[in-house]
Symmetry: C2
Subunit: 361 residues, 2 copies
DNA sequence: TTGAAAGCGGTACCAC
DNA sequence: GTGGTACCGCTTTCAA
């Protein structure tokens, strides 16, 4: 019996096993496998034969320790079941795969502790980039926290990428991929206003959430542009979920609020709102118009199909990955700050959930 | 100038940097950090201080090479944007995180090539388990392919886990976490039949897909139990997506098919069917009843809310992870084959999309 | 309790 | 073109 594991033994075969069985040196095996070095056809054949027989794959850990290694991108997300973020993740993952990169996914569940733990875990993995997805709560410490992440990652040769939230202030080593959130809201609200709506219930989302802030701001600007007073009493904050949409409409109705349209912060909120309207015997869009935001598949699957703001989520994911990949390739001509803040456009998708308000009787 | 990087230099700090700056040996640093070995309070303090100053994290690759290392589970999925699978992924990820495991996610896009590449990539990473999510296409080579994956992974000390598909035949080293697919379909169809429906349009999904096969089989059994003839002409196959639901209903209507209910293969298909019915001026459930399968959030967000079969997706994910974790802990008392095939229950969730058929005029 | 040193599985530089 | 070998950063005996 040999001291080292014989073929068929437990544990993975190593490059040494392959070398031995092929009667060549480990260096040669390495060369054949990396393919970035000239080797004789004969040697290649011999090695590949054994690789096949042993079903050998190189140890990624050893490889990255020694220098090489597959770049990996980590995607950190609050909740993996969110449709919008799922699309960003798909964009990142797709682009990563295309380049032979690997992707890790971690969910934070809105817990700062877990977020920190995950960032550190990713740092341990030596990932090329950490992508943080989704709007952020704009607390005071937020900027500091992110700046710390950014520097920490940067020091380890990694890159922090913020997707779907505003860029960090000051000279922080991070990349931001954003979309025209406020502009989309402005356009969406304008659409409603130009259809003649004047009394609209606004459900922008949580007041502390950056995305909600932007959407609210855009809406307000549109109202100003149309010379329509913006009633604070017509604004209801809450989570970006179905329940919030439902509850907000139900309560507004109960409170006797007078509105002919609902401007929802997300498509899911719009879905909830729609359900509540129906439950109250109101028709959409005959009695009340509704618009959403995000343009996730749900929007076109509702009845009536939802008029909403299209956000290029998947594209954002791809762009984010391309940004870090490019910077990593680090071609000449890159200057500090180049492509550190990318913002994609949004646009209104008109479907069937808006009608001019019914004439007042 | 020292030869090694001074603090603040590029690249991550290493355990040696920490040791040096703390004036202790690397072994001591390692001990302090792993915490699984007695060290003096003084030493711990010194080390932790420097760790903080340098913002040091251990190199996960080096660690796993040397023996330790965080167990990692890889989740391979067709399309990350599918709601059902997202829930499984969440279950796996959550349970993994709970145990300090890491999770990798890869998407195959239904491409066997990519699937193979990913499995190998995960093997390189030395993952503890590879979880394959979702129904599979039941081609001839499928069993062989999976068996090969299973053995390959097994030889590398990893485990193949199949979630949401039938177990592999023969003595293959894999774990399967399944749900009572056929039973759910049986119950769902029975619900329709007992409400008086006799002419039902069945949209089970792709004929080659294992989940579709099970659902169709369950439905057929229910029809037999009720002594109702099962008309092949009332079955339309297709993808598990909204479009298929829409098109199938639209075509059936156009073909003059006579039905009072739709038994959809998934909630998403049901949503499409519902939309098509409406577009044709039919009311749900007054004119036509509809039921789905999966019980994803969409089901309760549709109007009317969808009666459907609840599948414990998230639970399946948790169970899958627990299964591999347990086997890894490998307590005594485990016997070969123990817990290699787990099947969870399903049940009908009654909501508002079913009514007895309208009396024939 | 702490330190020295032998690996873990590859890569890549240096000879031949 | 191919082989020998010094690392990569960490864990874990083995001694002291």
């Amino acid at each position: 019996m040999s001291q080292r594991k014989a073929s068929g033994d437990a544990g993975r075969a190593t490059i040494r096993d392959v070398a031995e069985q092929a009667g060549v040196s480990v260096a040669s095996v390495s060369r054949v496998l990396s393919g970035n070095y000239p080797v004789s056809e004969e040697l290649r054949r011999r090695v590949m034969k054994v690789v096949g027989d042993l079903d050998y794959v190189t140890n990624a850990h050893a490889r990255s320790l020694a220098g090489g290694g597959t770049p990996t991108v980590a995607i950190l997300i609050n909740d993996i079941t969110g449709a919008a973020f799922a699309h960003v993740a798909r964009g990142v993952e797709g682009a990563a795969t295309l380049r032979g990169w690997l992707s890790l996914v971690g969910t934070t569940g809105d817990d700062p502790e877990r977020e920190l733990a995950l960032v550190n875990m990713m740092r341990q993995q030596g990932v090329a980039a950490v992508v943080l997805l989704g709007g952020a709560y704009d607390y005071d410490e937020y900027q500091l926290r992110m700046a710390r992440f950014a520097r920490s990652l940067d020091a380890a040769g990694s890159r922090l990428v913020l997707v779907g939230r505003p860029p960090l202030e000051g000279d922080v080593p991070a990349t931001t991929v954003d979309y025209d959130n406020e502009g989309g809201a402005y356009a969406m609200a304008s659409h409603l206003l130009s259809a003649g709506h004047r009394k609209v219930l606004v459900l922008p989302g949580h007041a502390e959430l950056t995305t909600a802030q932007g959407r609210l701001k855009g809406a307000r600007r549109a109202f100003e542009a149309y010379g329509v007073p913006f009633e604070p009493s017509m604004v209801r904050h809450g989570f970006y979920d179905y329940e919030h949409g439902y509850d907000a409409v139900q309560e507004s109705l109960r409170d006797g609020l007078d509105f002919t349209a609902v401007l929802a912060g997300t498509d899911v909120v719009a879905a909830g709102a729609m359900q509540a309207l129906r439950a109250a015997g109101l028709r959409v869009p005959e009695d009340v118009s509704i618009v959403g935001y995000d343009d996730i598949p749900l929007a076109s699957q509702l009845t009536p199909q939802l008029t909403t703001v299209h956000v290029p989520y998947e594209e954002m994911g791809r762009v984010a990955l391309r940004a870090v990949a490019d910077r990593r390739e680090g071609g000449p001509g890159r200057r500090k700050g180049d492509g550190d803040h990318l913002v994609l456009g949004t646009h209104v998708v008109v479907r069937n959930s808006v009608r001019p308000p019914a004439p007042r009787v």
